[in-house]
Amino acid sequence: MSDGRAGALAHHFEDLDQQHEASSLGMWLFLATEVMFFGGVFAAYTVYRGMYLPGFEAGSHHLSIKLGAFNTVVLLCSSLTMALAVRAATLGKRRHLITFLALTLALGLTFVGVKLVFEWYHDYETGLAPGINWALAGPHSRGAELFFVFYFTLTGIHALHMVIGIGILAVLIGMAARGRFTPEGSNAIEMTGLYWHFVDIIWIFLFPLLYLIGAHY
């Protein structure tokens, strides 16, 4: 989101403060659009959850709370390492910065890997993929199918955000290795941090909405 090369003052700003404030406001606005985007899907989810509650519960019972909880912990840790990376950047500690960025990236990859291999692929194999391979029978099949439509939509969009974040982290690590960030010129790190935390928070909403409905511990 931040324009202007790290460390340098772009020609159209008066000073670094102005540039920094502009980047943050821009990022927050971007996150506001994201809230509205996810909000739209959440609204649709809520409508159908109201219409097909037993189906949604039946669908939810097919998800693994263990894997979901594991991934939640992974993401929360990644938020911590991301925050530490931002701190390292403002202190100008390049080695720490690279380490924490790399840790964040690794945790992000773990999340996506678990999601892909142990959850989505498993769901697909066991006939829980609406429209592609749907084998769930029973009285609540229709509602459960809608549940899985939203499950895949929401976790899919979320995972897409993760993958984009991971790509940005990779670029930042490369830039950090080349010494492109200074304590004053580390807008890009801070903005990526905001984005990363936002994606985490989305998951904090997704986990209970998808995994924990109709208590089945």
Binding site: M1, D3, A10, H11, H12, F13, Q18, E21, A22, L25, G26, L29, F30, A32, T33, E34, M36, F37, G39, G40, V41, A43, A44, V47, Y48, M51, Y52, P130, G131, I132, R142, G143, E145, L146, V149, T153, I157
Partner: protein, 540 residues
């Protein structure tokens, strides 16, 4: 006249600083990007215009004079999609907003110049999808993409067209985001919020809608796409889905979106009315805050498009009341503009004629909106030509008039040239007459019961339809005239000088065309906007 507005000492401006196609395609100068947008939206205006011409020719005869019924459906769909998403929504923001906001706030550029360029490329990619959809067979869903028509029954390039709209949304979001940040963070010293030009206030309100509304229509399109690709029942009732939900998501964006189209024009008209009355605008704060009020309330009225689609009557009641509420801030503006004219020394240069046209036609459109917002009358009027006339009065009579007025007002600033004002006044008059002849009969024919979106109609409606088609040909001529003399003026027009209208505002205190960084020295503002009559605003 402002003493400090000198001719550019070096003669270098944003147009001649660099030449060649690369210097345009890779530019990050907000003024050049504005011109890239101007060219692209003009292209889409032509496509939308051609489809309108075909529609009007077709409707000369009750059985349809020109097109197959299926082709007719594709024609009005393409007309709506192109005109709304590719012309009107970007129109003023992406051209005049882009060009003027940095200058009006006394900055060298928008906050994120590269994102600004990116938004244009996104727009172009989106446009390519739409052009592809058009060439590869068209869409027949209307611009509203209602389900289950769009998900289950429609033939043709629904996905390509919907993707075009989806992608164009990102361009709109990025433009809005850029404006908000610029207005918050890049104002010149002394330029407090209550000294901002009203155009900037209007653009701010517009941007809020773009940033908060657009993602929701994106979601709706994603869900339609999923349903089409995987045959799952998000909206299809046969598969357990709810088609009304689509309408909720769609109108949650698309009603506020009508204010994305009209608010910028209101901003333009605020500038024009005060400049050509040579009088301080009446009720500055009312006009400024009414823009924000419109933006806020516009998010709460979407259900007035769904009175007959099976939504709860209680919801309809609330939506109806709120729709009446949203008309209040619009009326506040109209009253304040009128009060500004009162005892002003009004001159009728061409931009002012457009502005006056705007006020009259917008008022008609807004008042007929009240008919539609009333539950009982809407049952009769819904999906008739009355609705078509209502929104064309606002979107063409209002938004497009404002766009043209603004274009004529700032053209000397943009190009450094004057156009022949007599021709411009003539064109404005032709447009006004052609417009009314086109759309007034549609109020009548709609009230009499002619439904929209049909390729044929009962014989008794023919006279009114012929009137409308005749008006459309006059209107068409009215649009071609400015195209000719504006292009002519770029080469042959006399030099405009920095401030041909004697207007206040920072953009007039820099040479025309402005230098790349807008000001030779960044301005310091010491006065309110629109100090007409008393003393001139000046740059220190």
């Amino acid at each position: 006249m402002t003493a400090t507005a000198t001719e550019n000492s070096t003669g270098v401006n944003y147009l001649n600083v660099q030449y060649g196609i690369r210097s345009w395609l890779l530019t990050t100068d907000h003024k050049r990007i504005a011109l890239l947008y101007l060219a692209s939206i003009t292209f889409f205006f032509l496509i939308g215009g051609i489809s309108a011409v075909l529609i009007r020719i077709h409707l000369i005869e009750p059985q349809g004079a020109l097109l197959q019924p299926a082709t007719y459906n594709k024609m009005f769909s393409m007309h709506g999609i192109v005109m709304i998403f590719f012309f009107l929504i970007p129109s003023i923001p992406a051209t005049m907003g882009n060009f003027l906001i940095p200058m009006m706030v006394g900055a060298r550029d928008l906050a994120f110049p590269r994102i600004n360029l990116l938004s244009w490329y996104i727009y172009v990619v989106a446009g390519l999808f739409t052009v592809y959809a058009l060439i590869a067979g068209g869409v027949d869903t209307g611009w509203t993409f209602y389900t289950p028509l769009s998900t289950t029954y429609a033939n043709g390039q629904v996905m390509a067209a919907a993707l075009g709209v989806f992608i164009a949304g990102f361009s709109s979001i990025l433009t809005g985001l850029n404006f908000i940040v610029t207005i918050h963070k890049m104002r010149a010293p002394g330029l407090t919020w209550s000294r901002l030009p009203l155009f900037v206030w209007a653009m701010y309100a517009t941007s809020v809608i773009q940033v908060l509304g657009t993602p929701v229509v994106a979601v709706a399109i994603v869900l339609v796409g999923l349903e089409r690709m995987f045959q799952v029942g998000v909206f299809d009732p046969a598969l357990g889905g709810d088609p009304i939900l689509f309408q909720h998501l769609f109108w949650f964006y698309s009603h506020p979106a009508v204010y994305i189209m009209i608010l910028p024009s209101m901003g333009v008209v605020s500038e024009l009315v005060t400049c050509f009355s040579k009088k301080r605008i009446f009720g500055y704060h009312f006009i400024a805050y009414s823009s924000l009020a419109i933006a806020a309330i516009s998010f709460l009225v979407w259900g007035h498009h769904m009175y007959v689609s099976g939504q709860s009557v209680y919801a309809s009641l609330v939506f109806s009341a709120l729709s009446f509420a949203v008309a209040i801030p619009s009326a506040i503006k109209v009253f304040n503009w009128t009060a500004t004219l009162y005892k002003g020394s009004v001159s009728y240069d061409s931009p002012m004629i457009y502005a006056l046209g705007f006020i009259g036609l917008f008022t008609m459109g807004g008042l007929t909106g009240m008919f539609l917002a009333s539950l009982a009358t809407d049952i009769h009027l819904h999906d008739t030509y009355f609705v078509i006339a209502h929104f064309h009065y606002i979107m063409v009579g209002g938004a497009l008039m404002g766009y043209l007025g603004g274009l004529h007002f700032w053209w000397p600033k943009i190009t450094g040239r004057l156009y022949p004002d007599a021709w411009a006044r003539f064109a404005a008059l032709v447009i006004f007459i052609g417009f009314n002849l086109t759309f007034f009969p549609q109020f009548v024919v709609g009230y009499l019961g002619m439904p929209r979106r049909y390729a044929v109609y009962p014989e008794e409606f023919q006279v009114l339809n012929i009137m409308s088609s005749a008006g459309a040909s006059i209107l068409g001529v009215g649009y071609v005239i400015p195209l000719i003399y504006l292009i002519w003026s770029m080469r042959y027009g006399p030099a405009a000088g920095p401030n041909p209208w004697g207007a206040t505002g920072l953009e007039w205190q820099t040479p025309s065309p402005p230098p790349t960084e807008n000001f030779e020295q960044l301005p310091v503002v010491t006065e309110d906007a629109y100090e007409y009559g008393s003393k001139e605003a000046h740059v220190v």
